[in-house]
């Protein structure tokens, strides 16, 4: 199911490029993974590979491009049965599961350090918001908190054209994503180190 979903999403995104009208706009569609860092590790320390990242950037010049990025990450952690003290003094023995999804939507700029090279390194920065869907399950009973948070994402990567003169190529990137978040007790931010592996291509008919 997971693989099917990713495949469907990538195919949909590929279809989107076929319908695009703007010649100087490029899309990078990637499979994404992320590793929680900092306080987020209290919720889950599992690295996730259930993610996608799509950037649509307009080339301002041969080095600088700007546009938007939308992503998705699914974090999950099941804790072994343990006894917890409730506020009313009672004790509860339960298996806790944290399920957290983030959907960042970011204004993004990318600066290519060596445009035209066989391997083109770049740095990027994104700023915007993220939909944060958080469910803590006590056994099978969920407690849901859904909020929108500020999000910032500096990153770097390389773009490797598939051949000399090719407009399509592979893209490999890493980033640090930070979201201030105060809706979970004991947590003030959600941060993760992410990586993306995908394809970049021009969006035109």
């Amino acid at each position: 199911m997971k693989k099917t979903g990713l495949l469907i999403a990538v195919l949909l995104l590929a279809a989107a490029s076929a319908n695009a009208q703007q010649g100087e706009v490029r899309m990078t569609a990637s499979i994404a993974g992320a590793m929680p860092v900092g306080q987020m590790k209290d919720l889950t320390d599992n690295t996730t590979l259930r993610g996608i990242d799509v950037a649509i950037l307009y080339g301002v010049n041969d080095k600088l491009s700007a546009g938007a990025t939308i992503g998705f990450q699914d974090f999950y952690k099941k804790f072994s049965r343990a006894i917890y003290k409730l506020e009313d003094g009672s004790d509860i023995s339960a298996v806790l599961t944290n399920s957290l999804q983030t959907i960042p939507v970011l204004a993004t700029v990318r600066y290519s350090i060596k445009p035209g090279a066989a391997i083109q390194p770049y740095v990027s920065a994104g700023i915007g918001g993220a939909i944060v869907l958080y469910n803590q399950y006590i056994g099978e009973y969920p407690n849901q908190v859904n909020k929108i948070a500020f999000a910032a994402r500096p990153g770097a990567g390389v773009y490797i054209p598939f051949g000399s003169g090719s407009e399509t190529g592979a893209n490999i990137g890493i980033y640090y994503q930070y979201m201030p978040y105060k809706h979970i007790p004991g947590i003030t931010n959600l941060a993760n180190l992410g990586f993306t592996v995908g394809i970049g291509f021009p969006m035109r008919n």
Binding site: A9, L12, Q22, I52, D74, S93, Q101, G139
Partner: protein, 207 residues
């Protein structure tokens, strides 16, 4: 551009639907919850004997329905009694002036809600085109269609009552309460786990 974002949105929705399902990733033994409450200041070493009824009260929506002893109930009574005996208490008959009284109840509560079926007859091409009835171009009119659903949730409670001091206090005080809740609560094969975990989190409950 609008089409692009529509496709992007569809892609994201496809991914959201593929999140790891927390409930489906629980093993059967991981689903039940065990909640215990204790009256603070209780010295459980001051009690020596207990009496446990040989039937279970069935309470539905806050009303006692019956007292029964099904195979599941018998398993549960036996397992609870064993836990008490393992903690140093002696089980005695009801008429032998026990220090502690124990009762087990099965509690069921119904939760009812409404479902609005909405205008399933319009807004999309799945319903009969009015042309079929010989009235092409007409609109449908359906009155509001509301359905109801009822969910019954069950739990097991174990109550430990102070009989020893009842004459002095003129009341039967609850000393300890245990609650078992969640899928598998009424699975007889899980009764040993239920009893063990319920008492494991109350180490003070010992003579």
């Amino acid at each position: 551009m609008q089409k692009i974002f529509s496709v992007l949105l569809a892609g994201v929705i496809a991914l959201v639907s593929c999140t790891k399902d927390a409930v489906n990733n629980l093993e059967p033994a991981e689903k039940p919850l065990y909640i215990t409450n204790v009256t603070s200041g209780t010295d459980f070493t001051s009690y020596a004997t207990f009496s446990l009824a040989d039937s279970v009260a069935v309470i539905s929506n806050n009303q006692l329905i019956e007292r029964v002893r099904t195979a599941y109930d018998a398993e549960l009574i036996s397992a609870i009694a064993a836990q008490m005996q393992a903690r140093g208490y002696t089980r005695v008959a009801h008429g032998e002036d026990p220090d502690l009284g124990m009762s087990i109840s099965r509690i069921y509560n119904d939760y009812t809600g409404l479902i609005d079926y909405g205008a399933y007859w319009g807004g999309y091409g799945g319903y009969w085109d009015p042309y079929y009835w010989g009235y092409g171009g007409y609109n449908y009119y359906f009155p509001p269609m509301i359905g109801t659903y009822t969910i019954t949730e069950g739990a097991v409670t174990v109550d430990l009552l102070d009989l020893k001091n009842a004459p002095a206090t003129n009341e039967i005080r609850l000393l300890w309460n245990g609650l078992i809740r969640g899928t598998g609560t009424f699975n007889a094969a899980r009764v040993p786990q239920h009893a063990e975990l319920l008492f494991a989190q109350s180490p003070y409950l010992a003579n």
